[in-house]
């Protein structure tokens, strides 16, 4: 269906996953991602797929681990508190080199928090989606169309590097509606997975999917190999969008819904003659350090805008080796910054006219 439709972000994520060849969804309801599971429940039976509402988030995430181990494109989705419950299984997936897609439509936290949009799970997604030494791929769409495009990318790169991938969205993106074109997935070719536990038919050695290692030497060797792979990913898979950065003195760094608001603020600053620009990280891990380091060669200051108390701001400082001042502005608890608030910050940062 290459026609254009009006879709909620949550629905678009679901449809894009189906078009990307995913036929196995395991979930547990939570606001504000419910439409994603609801859409899957309506659509999966029609395409010969499985929609399964598990007894808990933990169960759902472990079903994904099992299903993906058999070589299927499997996914789960949740919102912040539910993702915390899934992190054990995500760590097991990373430790077993099993690719799968996890979607987090973030809401306010900590604890049960609230049901309004948030970006306070940045640290969880990029630093510790569970225990142990590992990373997952993290994508941060800013439009409903980009949600569609990144779902396919997340599945593909997850398969390529044999690791879990996350779409880190927020309640605003999940709930808002925009026109989208969804690629027709009838020609999607899924990669061979010779490692999968899908029956050896007496034609090959049996495969084992496992994250338990009996000697520390073996585990260290494996983790080191995994981290060599992470270095390749950091080199090849960074994604960011730059807006009016070429001559910018003040560069706002924002992702997801915050980037949408920041975009408006940068436009207002330009109308006032202030040289402002925007860098929008699209991959949060790997973080687009190259784009930021390059911008630091000419920019005078950076402003990280987030719907949190300040999490990505640390990665901005690391990316530019603290070579320029990096300020932070955020709202939290389910509040969204306004373009005017961000403009005020840009002006206070000394944006010259």
């Amino acid at each position: 269906m290459a026609e254009r439709f009006l879709m909620k972000g949550n629905e678009a994520l679901a449809e894009a996953a189906i078009q990307a060849g995913c036929r196995h969804f395991f979930g547990y309801p939570i606001t504000p991602q419910t439409e994603l599971a609801a859409y899957m429940s309506k659509k999966m039976p029609k395409v010969g797929g499985t929609y399964l509402q598990a007894e808990s988030e933990l169960a759902a995430a472990n079903m994904v681990l099992g299903c993906a181990s058999a070589g299927c494109r499997a996914m789960t989705s949740s919102s912040s508190p539910g993702i915390s419950l899934k992190t054990e299984a995500i760590s097991y997936m990373a430790g077993s080199d099993v690719p799968a897609l996890i979607i987090n439509v973030q809401r306010g936290g900590p604890g049960l928090g609230g049901i309004q949009p948030s970006q306070a799970d940045y640290w969880q997604a990029t630093k510790a989606t569970g225990h142990g030494d590992f990373q997952i791929l993290v994508f941060a769409p800013a439009t409903v169309q980009e949600m569609v495009n990144l779902v396919g990318k997340a599945f593909d790169l997850g398969d390529k590097y044999r690791m879990p991938a996350m779409i880190l969205a927020d309640g605003m993106l999940g709930q808002m509606m925009e026109p989208v074109e969804i690629p027709d997935g009838s020609n999607t070719e899924l990669p061979e997975k010779p490692w999968a536990t899908n029956g050896h038919q007496n034609k090959r050695e049996h495969n084992i999917i496992n994250s338990l290692y009996l000697t520390p030497q073996a585990l260290e060797k494996l983790v080191r190999e995994r981290f060599e792979r992470y270095e390749i990913i950091k080199k090849n898979e960074q994604m960011a969008e730059e807006y009016l950065t070429d001559d910018a003195d003040i560069i706002v760094v924002a992702y997801g819904a915050s980037a949408r608001v920041s975009h408006s603020a940068v436009d207002s600053a330009r109308q006032q003659g202030i040289k402002a620009g925007l860098i929008r990280p699209i991959t949060l891990w790997p973080f687009p350090t190259d784009t930021l380091a390059k911008a630091a060669e000419h920019a005078k200051a950076f402003l990280s805008v987030e719907m949190s108390m300040g999490q990505m701001v640390d990665d901005v400082k690391l990316a530019i080796n603290c070579s320029r001042p990096v300020e932070f502005y955020g709202r939290t608890g389910g509040m969204i910054p306004t373009p005017d608030e961000i403009l005020q910050q840009i002006i206070e940062l000394g944006g010259e006219k």
């Binding site: 269906m1 026609e3 254009r4 439709f5 009006l6 879709m7 909620k8 629905e11 449809e15 606001t31 504000p32 439409e35 859409y39 309506k42 659509k43 306010g108 928090g113 609230g114 049901i115 309004q116 309640g171 605003m172 709930q175 808002m176 509606m177 925009e178 026109p179 969804i182 819904a257 949408r260 608001v261 975009h263 408006s264 389910g334 969204i336 306004t338 373009p339």
Partner: protein
């Protein structure tokens, strides 16, 4: 100018534009000098709801009745006692009721079905949008109304065509949707009340009749 009845109930699939249409009808009636109450009867949707526009509505003299915990973090669908009052005639007062999406959202309406069914001067619009992926064929669209009617225990009285693609909508898009809306209405054996058209494209779509002019009120904060 569309002549609205004293009670207008807005039903439809998730995201077809029920809240935007409800707000437009309430503001339209208020601008014609009518006394208007708008009821946010959506107990399933956390964002983009009628209750979010309380300030703007009250400034236009419109009374807002919303779930007790609307616009808070509490996922608790408790409805105020005043909600029941909406479904009884009150002289020259008008009421517009914005119901939640699909059968899940319409379920809450069921408790008022006896009152609604005995209310004479009413329209129950089934709002349709051709550009929503799960209701893009008249057959799928008609099926969703049957589920809604079964959950809400009331019958729609007309189809309202609200097909649009936000700012990308062209007059041709809307023109193509009229046939879809008529087909849906035929399957449901209902009349097509009107096609809603945004002010900025109405000039290029004068041939569409009956049309109802609306503006886009519900949108994200950027």
């Amino acid at each position: 100018m569309f002549e609205f009845k004293h009670l207008t109930i807005i039903l439809g699939h998730y995201g077809c534009g029920k809240t935007n249409l409800s707000l437009n009808i309430a503001l339209d009636l208020a601008s014609r000098g009518k006394r208007v109450t708008i009821a946010d009867l959506d107990v399933v949707n956390p964002y983009f709801r009628t209750g979010d526009y309380r300030e703007m509505l009250e400034q236009s003299g419109i009374r807002v009745v919303a779930p007790v915990f609307a616009a808070t973090n509490l996922d608790n669908p408790s409805l105020p006692a005043a909600m029941g009052d909406i479904f009884e005639p009150h002289g020259d007062e008008y009421a517009v009721v914005d119901v939640g999406g699909d059968d899940a959202g319409a379920f809450a309406l069921g408790q008022y079905s006896a009152k609604i069914n005995s209310y004479e001067d009413k329209d129950i619009f089934y709002v349709v949008n051709k550009f929503r992926s799960l209701t893009s064929t008249p057959e799928d669209c008609a099926e969703i109304l049957r589920e809604i009617e079964s959950a809400a225990r009331i019958k729609a009285t007309a189809v309202a065509n609200n097909s649009h693609l936000q700012e990308l909508t062209t007059p041709q898009d809307v023109r193509s949707s009229v046939e879809y809306a008529k087909k849906t209405a035929d399957i449901l054996k209902l009349p097509l009340a009107f096609t809603a058209l945004e002010s900025k494209i109405i000039g290029g779509a004068r041939d569409i009749s009956p049309a109802y002019e609306i503006r886009r009120i519900v949108k994200p904060p950027f």
